[in-house]
Amino acid sequence: MAELEIRHLSRRFASGGGVSTVSLSVDSGELFVLVGPSGCGKSTLLRLIAGLEYPDAGEIQIGGADGDRRELVAMVFQNHALYPHMSAFDNIAFPLRLRRTPRAEIERRVAEAAALAALQIDLGRRPGQLSGGERQRVALARALIRHPRVILMDEPLSSLDAQLRERLRVELKEFQRRTQRTIIYVTHDQREALTLGDRIAVMRAGTIEQVGTPTEVYNRPANLFVATFIGQPPMNILRCRVRQTAASTTAAPPSAEPALEIGDKLAVAIPFGLGGEVLLGIRPEDLSYNPGSDAVAFEASFTRVEFVGGGYLAYATVAGQEITALLDQPVEPGRTRWLYARRRALHFFDPASQRRAD
């Protein structure tokens, strides 16, 4: 059942940016991630949901009701946005004090919210005396205390150092699983999106490129942008020419040397009809030295190899085009070896529309 419905939402700014005709549906108890490069409109979309911005067109419905948005949502900001002149307790209690809640109840609910946020500090302290992680917990407690239907998070972890970020990310996922809150989370980090989200929406230039589970988006990217944005290192994209043979249509990178066409190792049967060029996508982690079964071979001339802790990032050229491969063994630069990728791991894109071709 949908907790949040967005229909044809648009908001354009004079200075550029914004969102165009975005439609979305978020289920109750879901951790939904909006991910995309800077300026793609994800923060704008979040602010529209929060009610900090008004749409030019379209509508937002939360819980099927049309009440005061502020009663239904709460937000955790990137820079925590705590009130520096108030203690942590007063920060968390602020929403309740505005509503003239009696003192005893304030104390009870602040304690409750602090426990939910795993806050273990002296609440009399001010934000300036807390660490980055503690501040974000206070911000989270302040958001939770009103029991909102939807919690909005705008890159809450990006101002923290990498280790802390990892830890809090895990905690957040656990927290969401435990409490079954509906959370909409904005990030520019595709890895964070993949690890956190129940479903993710990849955005670019104000529109949603694809919505799906992390597995779906990773394994079947809907277009070239999603394919290269999700996954690090990014997916390799090779330009290939489609050649008709008697048996089937095959694709091969142009200017391939005769040696590459030995047998039909490079020829890949494409189960669809296409003329001209096609874009072939292979993730660096899907390339390996081992043929395995049902694999396609590429002759790669290696130019550079970097050790990346747990593997090697190899730069090579295949038929004149540059690719990267994540391999478990190094190789000498200058050498030429065969790399293999399973047929299942190949992605095909139409160069004109940049959409997935199968």
Binding site: A50, G51, L52, R70, E71, V73, A74, M75, F77, Q78, N79, A81, L82, Y83, P84, H85, F94, P95, L98, R99, R142, R146
Partner: protein, 276 residues
Amino acid sequence: MNTPDASPRWAAAARVVIEAAVVLAAAVPIYLLIKQALTPDLESFAWPPHWLPRNITAAHIKAIFALAELRSALLLSLAVAAAAAMVASALGTMLAYAMARREGLRRVGMAGLTAARLLPMIAVALPLTIVLIHLGLYDSPSGLGLALIHAALAIPTTALTTYGAFAAIPLEQEEAAFLDGASALRIFLAVDVPQAKLAIAASLVLSFIMSWDEFGFALLIQVTHRTMPPLLYYYTVFGDVGPASALALVMLGPAVAVIVALRPMLKSGALKGIQR
């Protein structure tokens, strides 16, 4: 010896000389004022001048404190300055906040405040006096008319002093307060004003001193119910040098006290806001 930081000997000596000259230039008039207040008039006019006091007397001080008008003038100056400071700070703070949050208003506001500062007071003195007469606030015992004029004169100062403090508060805090359910006024009072405390205090002090020292309008408007500056002027012109100097010292007192109290604020840079 020729490191970039080490200054040559003559530069250090020159610095000492210049600093001494500046201190002297500020201190000597004050010293003379104190000397004139505590020595007989004949001595103050002696030629060649006596740099050191020969006869200390308390006569002048006794004379001015016997003045009935001194007490009422002091109280009036105090009342006018306090009222002007509070009104100017309240209005100037709200203006500064609005300017800090709206780009369009900031441009218009800065232009307007600068123009207000550049306006020659002489040009508006007479029309303002006429307005006050019509309102019945001319030469009022409470000094209300003068307080309002002083408040208007001080608003550019209070607004510019507090503007920087408000501009420095991140918008996100106000957005968070909005989402928590606060009204615009509540946001201003609960989130912004506490963080601009120092600048607001500085603006109160500055506008107080501006009003306390103000002479032109006070002379024009408060003719019978006088504040301290016109009273001092009268005694300087028509009275004797001794009592006039003693009066000047009485006027200086609160100003010096305020500036001494202000020093920690100056050090913390709260007054930097004036630059914007």
